[in-house]
Amino acid sequence: MWVGRAELVAAVADAGALGFLTALTQPSPDALVAEIARVRAMTDRPFGVNLTILPSINPPPYEDYCRAIVAAGVNIVETAGSRPAQFIEFFKGHGVKIIHKCTSVRHALSAERMGADAISIDGFECAGHPGEDDVSGLVLIPAAADKVTVPILASGGFGDGRGLAAALALGADGINMGTRFCATAEAPIHRAFKLAIVANDERSTDVIFRSYGNSARVARNAISQRVIALEREGRPFDDVAPLVKGTRGLEGLVAGDLDHGIWTAGQVQGLVHDIPTVDELVSRIVSEAQAIIRDRLASLMS
């Protein structure tokens, strides 16, 4: 959210990777169309749009966003969240390639049956919504690869070439990164958050909303700790809603205030030590993975 805007998406595309605008970062379908045009002004490479369908305090007009995405000529969409069938069907009907992001093998299989062209599978270590099963990538990725026939993107815990090589070993066809891309020169977020990701260690995350069945991994801060304390007291969601509403999070993101609202980060922040350009990051990951596979791992077979 919020970081998935034109500046980052265009930089990722230019680096030879696939960037996604987050549809719901834009306040309206018209604003999304304008953001898509902004990406196109910056790059002629392919990019996609993410549409996340989750319980929300004020549900957005999902159908209008879908129509806007198709009308703007975007041909790759990442769907995420609950009950994606009607959205997958709609996009497929318009020739859009679908990557469905999910957190369990059973949801991967149902998305495949719905017609998803690829699956992005999210381990428990990820930022954002890891689901309620808490299965880590080392187990979840090969478990999915054994059953899913469409290509798989490994998600959660990835930030360097070692992770890319590991994901490929486990049977994935690529990796998906969020937290790592937030700490890049082009990510359109306040520098305070980039520095915080660099400074934070692997344990500096909290899983909130567990008691509401909508777990989210966020960077540990004053708000996440208050939310956890309220959940331990058994408080209903209405009591924490003022702390976690999106507008509050956005205020913090814009102001660079790390403790104003919740913001997502994965365990991989423990492996993030710098703020490179996107191009430097992508090149480094690919060359590191190649070196691991061709040199370090190859030497074990001799």
Partner: protein
């Protein structure tokens, strides 16, 4: 295959069997050693007199290297280092305690010492004590966990790798050659398997538990935390853990006291069955020799497949 771990351990393969309480006895550990990997005798049962007999039995069951785990929270014997040295043990893993307690004495007697760590902080402490290597346990594994901060192997292994020079054994989530290859890509130089070994033919546990591992999906473990907040552990989801959901135990002592009713008698409601998430990837009870051989075969095939994907 040769690397720093096989050189230190004197084994054919850089694979260790986890020192599971009551399970990692001579029947299982000797099968692992005879298969070219590192069989390890447990002490976390606290039954040290029985363990001494198990170590003696190892000498007759295998002529390959084997090790002993000193589970510091559970075994207290003033002469344990000398006793292990007298039995001809050369490799020890220490766990569940301060690595400083045994490291120096073990090193003086010529042991190769690895310490088991769940965090970077613990890894740095162990290295400062002079250990030869680390067993790094990701949160997906069975057994004791910090329930409030479960860090996955995908992050923990490369993180520790960045900060230490000693070899790392990846533990948690490993059951085959693919997961072993992933662990090596992340920076490990060996792997340890627990749940995969529980579901081997030679594991001295009741068939009910082995079958439950085979039947489990990757979502069928839970981290149980007693009311005391101490000693959270990852175990198989069973009727017992459903009872805990309704009424968490004050602590685990009463149920631990009945653990052999589950392990040996197969009463899955008597206690908890320490099981990792990787249970979801285990589909067959196999002889240890086959597990090790197939792991190594798949490991090499996976590395070859990675080579071809990079066009090398």
């Amino acid at each position: 295959m040769r690397n720093r771990v096989t050189d230190l351990l004197g084994t054919e393969f850089p694979i260790l069997q986890a020192p599971m309480g009551w399970i990692a006895r001579s029947q299982l550990a000797s099968a692992v050693s005879n298969a070219g990997a590192m069989g390890i005798i447990e002490t976390s049962s606290g039954e040290f007199d029985v363990i001494r007999g198990e170590i003696k039995a190892m000498r007759t069951l295998t002529d390959k290297p084997f090790g002993v785990n000193i589970a510091q929270a559970f075994v207290h014997h003033p002469d344990i280092v000398s006793l292990l040295a007298d039995e001809g043990v050369r490799f020890v893993t220490t766990s569940a305690g301060d690595p400083a307690v045994y490291c120096e004495a073990l090193k003086k007697k010529g042991f190769t010492v690895f310490h088991v760590v769940p965090t970077l902080k613990a890894a740095l402490r162990a290295v400062s004590c002079g250990v030869d290597g680390l067993v790094v346990e990701g949160g997906e594994g069975a057994g004791f966990k910090n329930a409030h901060n479960i860090v996955a192997s995908m992050v923990l292994i490369p993180l520790v790798r960045d900060h230490v020079d000693v070899p790392i054994i990846a533990a948690g989530g490993i059951a085959d050659g693919r997961s072993m290859a992933a662990a090596f890509a992340l920076g490990a130089e060996g792997v340890q398997m627990g749940t995969r070994m529980v579901s081997s033919q030679e594991a001295p546990v009741h068939a009910n538990w082995k079958q439950a591992v085979i039947a489990a999906s990757e979502t069928d473990t839970v981290v149980v935390t007693p009311k005391s907040g101490r000693m959270s552990m990852r175990v198989l989801r069973t009727g017992k853990t459903e009872q805990y959901e309704d009424e968490p135990p004050e602590d685990m002592r009463a149920d631990f006291g009945r653990i052999l009713e589950l392990y040996r008698d197969g009463n899955m409601l008597a206690s908890v069955a320490m099981t990792g998430q990787v249970a979801g990837r285990i589909r067959e009870i196999k002889p240890v020799q086959q597990i090790i051989a197939q792991t190594m075969e798949e490991f090499v095939l996976t590395l070859q497949s990675l080579q071809s994907q990079t066009g090398a």
